[in-house]
Subunit: 331 residues, 2 copies
């Protein structure tokens, strides 16, 4: 490779920062990339001292402040100018890095991404697009970001960006794109989905029509399009319902001796089930539609999740997703 | 009891009609109620001939047509004037019965309920309110009906109606009411939820604030308020995710011998888990805000589900829910 891909990583964001973030960076480092850990120099140095690593692959960019989960997102981005998040986003804005990854506050990252990095040409609203597990693998759920009152045109752009991402980064040929709705027919839904349906039909994507809540976990679509309110509910509901079900199963398995023994014997199966629902396998959620790549890693990311997010970011850059999105949108 | 409660039951609606519907009616019949089976007289007679029952408790009201799942809901209500659904709803309108229960097309029942039975005094929009399972028991999810583009004032009425229902019919004292949203703070969400939040705060109910998707399955609220689009997505997502998870667990349990044996031993635990997710325990979904009670039973209702729906309807009438709702709304 001619040029290294440069990744800025928020060393201070997330429940397990900085230890797991730094550990993930060390695990992901290789000769093709350069990782810049953004945050408190002393703390990062202390963490790095635990590992052997090549200093040409990992460096530190000091930032004295941290945006916490308690901070008001927009105010924090404005006021904490020397926070790891703001400093990282500015490195991206100034093209000193190709990507910024953070496991910190989603709200702050969304606000900062839009205000500091800026939208890609022709994009109305950037979108946050996590991968959610399903029966067969995973789907991209777009949007789970800040666009609470979306317009049909936003949804059309989300569909295009999601399709490009799943094809180029996740390697799914002609990804199936579906619109979240309350029924299969085109005329179903609220004002937003009715109008969005017609727009999606016109696009040069593999639009398979509406998808109902029941079918989202069945893996019928690769890209699931909705406004951010609906996306947020689906994303968090997936997490909560999974947890609740696992708790109920555990509770019932412990209620009688035979079931208890059965549970012990089936341990490896349960491990496999949990792995299929494990977000760490999927890397982070890309924020699509910006001039560079911002990745939101899960707040409770461990080293493995951070490593996945870095690998995903490398692919994003190699596949020139920003350029592809701009080309498609401005056709 | 001075007067019998009279229930009209759509004998032709649902996947298992008329056999399971008639069986459920026979199981629920007792001296305090009178059940009128609405539908094809010959078919119903044929089913009834399988059982011993008291003819003073169960009778037949002939209707020659059936609204199918393929019919367009609004058109079907208008055109199939002698369908079991239209005939049953008209019996309710004319106060010849106290309740109409159907496991048929939800869309047709919603349209028919509103057009034929009419709204309770002061109600802006009637709502469909199913019970959904959670960690601890179940919550009422209101609205899952036809109000795709809701206004804040509708949501305020849903909160009041849901609260009355859970208190009077389900016996929960001072039910906890929450608004579906993307965060805990009052200022979170879309235009609808922001405005609805202020309205809900003013009401004489136990409003506990916003609830996120993650917490819905945790049983933190007894009444979960949202627009029908969001409600439909949550309801169907609960069903789909439950199914997907059970399938994945089954798949993994069958992959190795030890797990297989474990699964056999844990059979009774799995049965208990399934029962906790079993809709048949909860009766049907009431359509709240009409001049009488319309209950939507699940499309795949068996006799047990129909029996539960009948028992729920009896309680609804005894507790004078329609009167309580009108009183509260017009205070």
């Amino acid at each position: 490779m001619a040029e290294k891909i440069i990744i800025a990583l928020d060393a201070m964001g997330g429940d397990n920062a900085p230890s797991e973030i730094v550990k993930g960076a060390v695990a992901a480092a290789n000769e093709d990339i350069k990782i810049i850990l953004v945050g408190d120099e002393n703390q990062i140095k202390n963490e790095l001292s635990k590992y052997d690593y090549d200093p040409s692959q990992i460096s530190i960019h000091h930032a004295s402040e941290v945006i916490s989960m308690e901070d008001s997102p927009v105010a924090a981005i404005r006021k904490k100018k020397d926070s790891s998040m703001v400093v990282g986003l500015k490195l991206l804005k100034e093209k000193e890095v190709d990507t910024f990854i953070s496991a910190g506050s989603t709200g702050a990252l969304l606000a900062g991404g839009t205000f500091l990095v800026g939208r890609a040409k022709g994009i109305e609203r950037p979108a946050l697009a996590p991968l959610i597990p399903n029966n067969k693998g995973f789907s991209l759920l777009i949007d789970c970001g800040a666009n609470m009152d979306a317009k049909p045109a936003y949804l059309a752009q989300f569909a295009q960006m999601g399709s490009i991402y799943m094809e180029s980064v996740m390697g799914i040929k002609s990804p199936k794109v579906a619109l979240v709705n309350v029924g299969a027919e085109a005329e179903k839904g609220n004002q937003l989905t009715k109008e969005a349906f017609s727009l999606l039909e016109e696009l040069d994507i593999n639009f398979i029509g509406n998808i109902e809540g029941r079918d989202i976990p069945m893996g019928l679509a690769d890209v699931i399009v909705c406004d951010a309110f609906t996306g947020n509910v689906i994303l968090k509901h997936t997490e909560g319902l999974g947890l609740a079900l696992f708790n109920i199963i555990k509770e019932e398995l412990m209620k009688d001796t035979l079931s208890k023994i059965g549970a012990l014997l089936s341990k490896s199966a349960y491990k496999r089930v949990k792995r299929r629902f494990d977000y760490t396998e999927y890397g982070g959620a890309p924020m699509l539609g910006l001039q560079g790549l911002v990745v939101k890693a899960h707040g409770s990311s461990n080293a493995k999740a951070i490593k996945s997010a870095i690998e995903q970011a490398v692919k994003f850059k190699k596949e020139k997703i920003v350029e592809k999105i701009e080309e498609k949108i401005n056709q």
